[in-house]
Amino acid sequence: MSALSELSRLRRRGTPASKSPAERNDGKAALFFLGPWFIGLAVIVAGPLAASFYLSLTDYDLLSPPVFEGLANYQALLTDSQLRKALQVTFTYVFVSVPLQLAAALGLALLLDRGLRGLAVYRSVYYLPSLLGGSVAIAILWRQIFGTEGLVNQVLWWFNDLQPFVHIQTQGWVSNPDTALGTLMILNVWTFGSPMVIFLAGLRQIPEMYYEAASIDGASRWRQLLGITLPLLTPIIFFNLVLQVINAFQTFTQSYIVSGGTGGPVDSTLFYTLYLYIQAFTNLNMGYASAMAWVLLLIVAVMTALNFFLSKYWVFYND
């Protein structure tokens, strides 16, 4: 189903079954079909990846040639308080907003079960935000919604006037360092539509007869959910989790627009990628930014590996 499962299958079995009966070698044709991909891999991906590692060992500002200085950049990373802040912001964002987003996606997918009238309409409505969520336009909207005179505060004013019992303090949600990151988390949760669609597809794979057998045995809907649906859905939950964690680590647009490119207020929305961008393209610390890039790669790789390792304990594979 996914690139991830394909990779783990490669690891388990060795070959994706695609050998033709007559074991021929199509070297020449492969050159034609895979030529562009090979060049792209070398020039656009692998070359820059290697160059990035070399640059991470240098001091380089684009204007004068790179000066080799060993692990100095990595040492500087250890004591960089802004970097620590960026890591804290990014990890908080990932660990809070991804589970919430997946919970919303799963909850909605379970509500939208088979045979529900208007399923297609609901699915579209809930999916739409995830199509738009990554755009600059929506980030601009968000900045306004949570601004001092924004929609949220307007609703709160109205709510506070309506009744005397509960009073919620209005504030500039994006200009307050305590709440700015929260607004971006809400934006991420708002885009739960795409994992929801994946869950819906997963739910459809579960054979109807399991439920029929369970209800003949008198299992309640709740029992069916815990005993059939969730266990059979764990591979999909896992897949969504890996995907959304990788995505969330790379959040850039939203923090750039909402904070005006600074990661403020007081670095409270300084995402890792934004800090990398600032170091590379504002401060022209290309060497330092490259070291940051390798740390990012390491983090994403470790998180993905950790996810795979932990999956042994909770993901249920039917095959």
Binding site: M1, A3, E6, L7, N25, D26, G27, A29, A30, F32, F33, L34, P36, W37, G40, L41, V43, I44, V45, G47, P48, L49, A51, S52, L55, L62, L111, R117, Y122, S124, V125, Y126, P129, G134, S135, V136, A137, I140, L141, G150, W158, S194, V197, I198, L200, A201, N247, F252, Y256, I257, G260, G261, Y277, F281, M286, S290, A293, W294, L296, L297
Partner: protein, 296 residues
């Protein structure tokens, strides 16, 4: 039928009716919940649409969707606010998007045929590398890419945004099409081979015509991602005349600060129109694409 049995039957019918009533209440409750949730999800968008047609002074005074006054002034003002009319930036975006879509369609389908149908040395290794490159964050390689493109004078051209697509670096779509090609019966190509067709002929005459759904999915997602892409367009396009829509919107935001929300909403909405259009007309492919491959 004895009285006892009849009584039991009546009771059974009653409880079945009650259960049915219960189920229909349940269903109504569920729909109410879903409609309410849907409104909550869409309200920010609807409010943006409404605000773009309100006089500036009213945007912050009326949280509702209906304004006491209606105006299109925001659109007129926003359209000509930057150095160039907004259509300039839309054109730039469309050029980048067209290049990316064509590039991805050609290069990814070629590479996918290679992986799905050809045998060559170290194929499994190359395939694994291709899969892993899907997960490589762009941020890791952006600095050397920038240095490379600036050395060959490509900064402030659309080439850094298009050339990688022509070289199939969006490995995600290679994988998507490999999956699709694998589902096409091999008997078809074997038959063509017996008739003397070579690989290019099989690719163009058999595989591509059968792969329209996968090609459509690739085109649609490339469109959406490129249209929304801010990071690389911000880096590679620094001259105002080369700005694409996302970068132009950023400039708009910087230039006006908090002063012109109405025109900014108007232009933001215009930037979302192509996405809405795809949403309306390409939904079949969107949903299928996400469901089978897990893209956003």
């Amino acid at each position: 039928m004895t009285d006892a049995a009849r009584a039991e039957l009546v009771l059974m019918n009653a409880s079945r009716a009650a259960a049915r009533r219960h189920a229909s209440w349940r269903r109504a409750g569920k729909h109410a919940l879903l409609v309410l949730g849907g409104l909550l999800m869409l309200y920010p968008l609807l409010w943006m649409v409404a605000s773009s047609f309100k006089p500036e002074a009213l945007i912050f005074r009326e949280p509702g969707l209906l304004a006491s006054e209606f105006t299109t002034e925001n659109y007129a003002f926003g359209w000509d606010f930057l150095r160039r009319p907004f259509s300039w930036y839309i054109t730039n975006s469309l050029i980048v998007v067209a290049g990316a879509v064509i590039g991805n369609l050609v290069s990814c389908s070629l590479a996918a045929y290679g992986f799905a149908r050809l045998n060559f040395k170290f194929k499994n290794l190359w395939f694994a590398i291709m899969l892993m490159s899907i997960m490589l964050p762009i941020h890791v390689i952006i600095v050397p890419q920038y240095i490379l493109f600036s050395n060959i004078g490509w900064i402030n051209t659309f080439l850094p945004l298009i050339a990688p697509k022509v070289l199939a670096t969006d490995a995600f779509f290679v994988f998507l099409m490999v999956q699709f090609f694998r589902g096409i019966p091999r008997e078809l190509d074997e038959a063509a081979r017996i008739d003397g067709a070579g690989h290019p002929r099989i690719f163009f005459r058999i595989m591509l015509p059968l792969s329209v759904p996968a090609l459509a999915t690739t085109a649609i997602f490339t469109f959406i991602w490129t249209w929304n892409d801010f990071f690389s367009q911000l880096i590679f396009l620094t001259h105002p005349d080369m700005y694409t829509v996302p970068v132009a919107l950023r400039t708009f935001l910087d230039a006006t600060g908090q002063n012109h929300w109405g025109p900014m909403f108007a232009m933001s909405l215009i930037s979302l129109v192509p996405l809405f259009a795809i949403f309306l007309f390409g939904q079949r492919f969107l949903v299928k694409g996400i469901a089978t491959t897990g893209i956003k």
